[in-house]
Subunit: 712 residues, 2 copies
């Protein structure tokens, strides 16, 4: 795992990759179409200022450059070595690098871990050489590195892209080619692009740290298929996101989804849940496609962040205005701004009578650039407008280019609020779109997309301004839990028994229902009398997890006879259904009559650690799926947010005259659970279900729990 | 309302608009930029074969055409008259049309209903003239009509578009300009385009009927803001959709959303619900933006429909393949096809060892066109593949143009299954994209979009193959309900009392709980004894709708004392909370102990009529919002589908060993409710909540109902 210190060292180190004093290409080729030719050509054509050393024993000269038989004969230590020789020769080249003291290597060559077992062995061999010699490696199986600012194009991804403030990292080389091509068409520039390939050494966290420290990078974007160390990644990106919007495409489900789950929480935590939690926590903006990522980049790079959620629309076509209004209202979190009377009056004074001075402001089909200018100026100054979307359809009188110029001019003069454009059409608005792009006004092909972009910016602003995370630690009996878990694991158990689950819960401050074990009907009746009627009977067996599924739970038993009947029926029926189950008796439990049933749960993701769950409890939990997840450890605000993310929350607050439940008691329960699973990595899955909660001042009761553990 | 006969007459009539023998432009102008100039020029430039008569008293000649001072002086009856004179002169021109016997008029002029009251009067005046003279009118306030097949461009929407099989109608003229421009850029052609403007005469249903009967039109698309006659529209489009995919953008919420609701169903039927139900029922494919509409058009126009849900992906970039797989799996209803062993073996035999012969088929970054050809042929032949998505990123070796040619060639040779392309990039794939377009292969800018398109096609196929709709009619006591409703309305009541609601329900075959009214505690106790304990007490007042909100419902009363206490408490407390309520006593009701609570409801949409609702019942209905809607009248299949669309359904079928509920009894309840609200348009809103349902064979009980009525 990376500590803060190491990270920053790696980030510093990456500077040597981004700005090397010289570059050697081992495997450089004279033959067009070969990767060794493409990379060398790209380095030269990009106008790289340092020395370039082609290395290939079968050539003396490549193009105008002297070619060296091996690294040693260069007579200098290259600042960066790019390896493109066949996979089986890579160890040899690495040994040569080690011998002459090379520090930075990009292994472009494929045929390692990605092709199977043999490739994986080869990769391990290569990395061992690197580790021993202290060589840092990008790749293998990557496209290379592109740094427009230092005119370095050590890749086979095509021409050097334009310079911009976006740092891009990609786990797929092939996609990066398409990304560069699309960026060119949309006028998006980059500070740095890194193809991270198999991430044998330098991984996504390293690159993102380096981007975060890079003065040339303002926005971080990337394509990832997996994440090496989830915990370190989250912590690092959470820090980074605050200053640099992080826009990621993440493809492929998580391995957690494939694992068979024994708890409700486990089965509800589907493949993507962990990533969703992680993105939310770290403030990462998730993109579903390259196109969407570019839509977002265009906004974040060129426009200020909106201060609030109010969006105003200006249009020369009523229909387009309605579509924009629909889109904005459909986006959760945005407000279709209500213009003040003062603003409406100002607009009405300057617009023709048939125009609409209310949001969406309709400047009419015959609006010239000047009318747009007037409207945009007034709307931008309006107090509850935080962002403006300007729509245009190219009608007979429309001055699309002049209007674009007007918008760009206003944006320069009033840089406080973001402006977005949606010029609908193609050929008729093509020139205008170029003007918008030059003027740094993000232009989108439909109001839907523009509304989505504004929403994403607004969400990011909200995320940035969230309160500082403070995780409360409760005084608990940690030693007790340690003992219980150790005892279980020693006995080879994966599931903690009901009695021991109670011990664990109580050690962490949960209250469990009173009750006792009975092995005969008489004992059960005596226990019931001690507790007071009504009572609950539960089958008592380490082998039965889903007790209610097999008739192992009977609630609301009101007298001795009902207890005796329930006991005898369980003893008669359950062994017939589950002959192999070891039945120890029944648990006679006080009945919690008042309150509502919720579930508190946890599922441990192999990459991101414990995910906490909250939702409506009882047997309906998997049917209604009214649950929410969050990463542990949890702050009080996050616990509250988990509640608010469910529909159950409304019910808990009290509907139709009912008294509300004690919300703080529930959030405390979630925080205690968070502490428990954070302190005990052995706990793999856990449900407290039902967690019976009552009105203000009543202590919730953890009625039933299921805890599964593993040796770690 | 339009009957089948009239519709087809209108449709026939529209032929005169689409293919007129001659066209007169009243208000033709010599002045560039004027609408009267644009339209005349567009008609001439498009190469229209019939005679063109400019009409303008202030000109003798416009361009090379003789200009007439008025319609009469033409000396012939023009087949189509396009009016572009100022609004206030339109009635005069219309009278002239009437005098000389013109049958078809397009009023392009704006300034009618859309500008307010005065304009509306003018429009009524114009339409009265038209009606008396039997003149059919498109518009006013529209862009005109464009018919590429007859080279008629009677519009100011720009150049004549390419000929294609898509008929387009638009309620917004300004948007149509952008639509034409975008269509040109994407190579989409049209059979006919109609800007319907204010729809004073010819409306969306007429145009769609005409398109449906038109041999040149295969796909119908449009942009609508409202619908004139919802019921006629649904019935007509349902018929049309079967043969012509109907792709509509609908913007703006419904008026129903704004109406204050008194029932659960009313408040849950938000603005868009009616339109959603209508789209589903009529098989309309809803589009959120023009871009999305074009994405869909491109597929429906050029490719066969998929026979099933299985999608296979071929890619030269692993990352893109994963993104496509994610997108397909995220789309409900699509299957990421599992290739058979035979197919995998065939692929493996022809692909390099590092390639992946499984879905997504990765042909590797160095794949030439030939390898794509091989893979596509094998995958298309695979038995459980119904559609193929071909991805390409432009890598060093990639032959993007040749690959596009190969795909187009295979599509021609194997036209049974649809093929879609997603060539990622911009400049580097531009040529190839042209080849794809020429070869009628839909090309999308991200796998996300392609997956969405395939899903929409698949949904349409499913809709087309749904069983024939048969609405069952139950024997009921219609007269009884008539009497009850009339009685209420005569008394000026909007809400039917509880006792009368029971009468209505019973008349339509619902079973209601036994019980009786009591005005003293003693009467209540006697009633309870007759029913048998436990019982329910409900406050009895015509003024109290949400009884439980004010403590007016007490359930589970077990003995005389509890009944007496409950009675006295209601009589004490409720008058203090609602001093103005007229309290008649309490209703003592048998308690339904067994079963689950669901809600059956109805909300009448002003445009589309009764929307039925099903969902989880009880007081939680508005919290959990686990409800589904459908238009009445309901078939048994649709009622079943309404259940299946909720999470409650799983619960009703029985979870965790519980016995399932009688599903058919619930669907019958929905059908009976459907019949009731269809037969009584006076019923505006209605809830049966809770509707207590039991296991197979048990009769459900309509425990409580709320019915509101209006004079119609």
């Amino acid at each position: 795992m990376l500590s803060g210190k190491v990270k920053s060292e790696t980030a510093n180190f990456l500077e040597k990759f981004f700005n090397p004093e010289s570059v050697a290409v081992v495997g450089a080729s004279r033959q067009q179409g070969k990767v060794g030719y493409e990379i060398l050509t790209n380095i030269i054509n990009a106008g790289y200022k340092g020395d370039v050393f082609p290395v290939n024993p079968r050539a003396d000269v490549i193009g105008e450059l002297k070619c060296y038989p091996d690294l040693k004969s260069i007579g200098r230590i290259p600042g960066l070595v790019v390896i493109v020789v066949p996979a089986k020769i890579v160890p040899e080249v690495m040994r040569e690098c080690a011998k002459i003291g090379v520090e930075s290597v990009i292994i472009v060559t494929a045929g390692f871990r990605e092709v199977g077992e043999e490739g994986e062995k080869l990769e391990q061999q290569v990395m061992q050489i690197a580790k021993q010699a202290g060589i840092r490696v990008v790749g293998p199986n990557c496209l290379g590195i592109v740094v427009p600012t230092s005119r370095l194009n050590a890749s086979f991804g095509g021409d050097l892209p334009a310079t911009g403030v976006t740092g891009y990292l990609s786990q797929s080389g092939a996609l990066l080619v398409a990304i560069l091509d699309m960026a060119k068409a949309r006028g998006i520039g980059f500070s740095k692009l890194v193809s991270i390939g198999n991430k044998a050494d330098v991984n996504e966290s390293d690159i993102m740290s380096a981007f975060a420290d890079d003065p040339d990078t303002g926005v971080i974007a990337g394509y990832l298929e997996n994440i090496v160390d989830g915990n370190a990644f989250v912590r690092e990106v959470e820090r980074i996101s605050h200053d640099n919007p992080v826009l990621l495409i993440k493809s492929g489900g998580t391995s957690a989804g494939a694992k068979a789950a024994s708890s409700h929480t486990g089965s509800l935590a589907a493949g993507e849940t962990a990533y969703e939690c992680m993105f939310e926590r770290a403030g990462i903006i998730r993109c579903d496609s390259i196109k969407q990522q570019f839509d977002y980049i265009q906004a974040f790079v060129n426009q200020p962040l909106p201060a609030g959620s109010g969006v105003a629309v200006i249009t020369n076509a009523g229909g387009a205005g309605i579509m924009a209004a629909d889109s904005i209202e459909r986006q959760g979190g945005l407000t279709f701004a209500k213009l003040s009377d003062e603003t409406v009056d100002k607009l009405a004074a300057g617009l023709p009578p048939a125009a609409s001075p209310r949001n969406p402001v309709d400047v009419l089909g015959d609006a010239l650039a000047e009318r747009y200018e007037f409207a945009l100026n007034v709307v931008l100054d309006a107090p509850n407008v935080d962002a403006v979307l300007v729509l245009l359809t190219p009608q007979a009188m429309t001055q699309s280019v002049a209007t674009a110029e007007v918008i760009a001019g206003i944006a320069r003069g009033k840089p406080a609020k973001p402006i977005f454009a949606c010029f609908l059409g193609a050929g008729k608005v093509a020139e205008a779109v170029k003007v918008l792009r030059k003027g740094k006004i993000p232009q989108y092909d439909s109001p839907e997309v523009a509304a989505d972009v504004i929403k994403v910016m607004n969400d990011y602003v909200k995320w940035r301004s969230r309160p500082k995370r403070v995780v409360k630690l409760f005084p608990v009996n940690r030693r007790k839990v340690e003992n219980v878990i150790e005892r279980c694991l020693r006995r080879g158990l994966r599931e903690i028994t009901e009695a021991e689950s109670k011990e664990i819960l109580e050690a962490y401050g949960f209250v469990t229902p009173k009750g006792s074990i009975a092995t005969t009907a008489e004992q059960a009746i005596n226990a019931a009398k001690r507790l007071g009627y009504p009572v609950v009977l539960k089958i008592w067996s380490p082998d039965i997890l889903h007790k209610s599924d097999i008739g192992g739970v009977r609630v609301g038993l009101n007298n001795d006879r009902e207890v005796m009947d329930a006991f005898d029926l369980m003893m008669y029926r359950i062994p017939r259904k589950l002959p192999s189950a070891d039945i120890l008796g029944v648990f006679v439990q006080e009945m919690c009559k008042e309150g509502k049933e919720v579930i508190l749960g946890m599922n441990r993701d192999p990459c991101f650690g414990p995910l906490l769950m909250f939702g409506m409890g009882g047997t309906m939990v998997e049917v209604l799926k009214d649950v929410s997840f969050y990463m542990a450890p949890l702050t009080a605000e996050e616990a509250k947010q988990m509640l608010a993310n469910t529909k159950t929350y409304k019910m808990l607050k009290g509907v139709r005259g009912e008294e509300g439940m004690d919300i703080n008691a529930i959030t405390e329960g979630l925080q205690r659970l968070s502490q428990l699973v954070t302190e005990f990595p052995q706990i793999q899955e856990m449900d407290i279900n039902p967690y019976m909660v009552g009105s203000e001042g009543m202590t919730p009761i953890a009625v039933d729990a299921r805890i599964s553990v593993e040796q770690v």
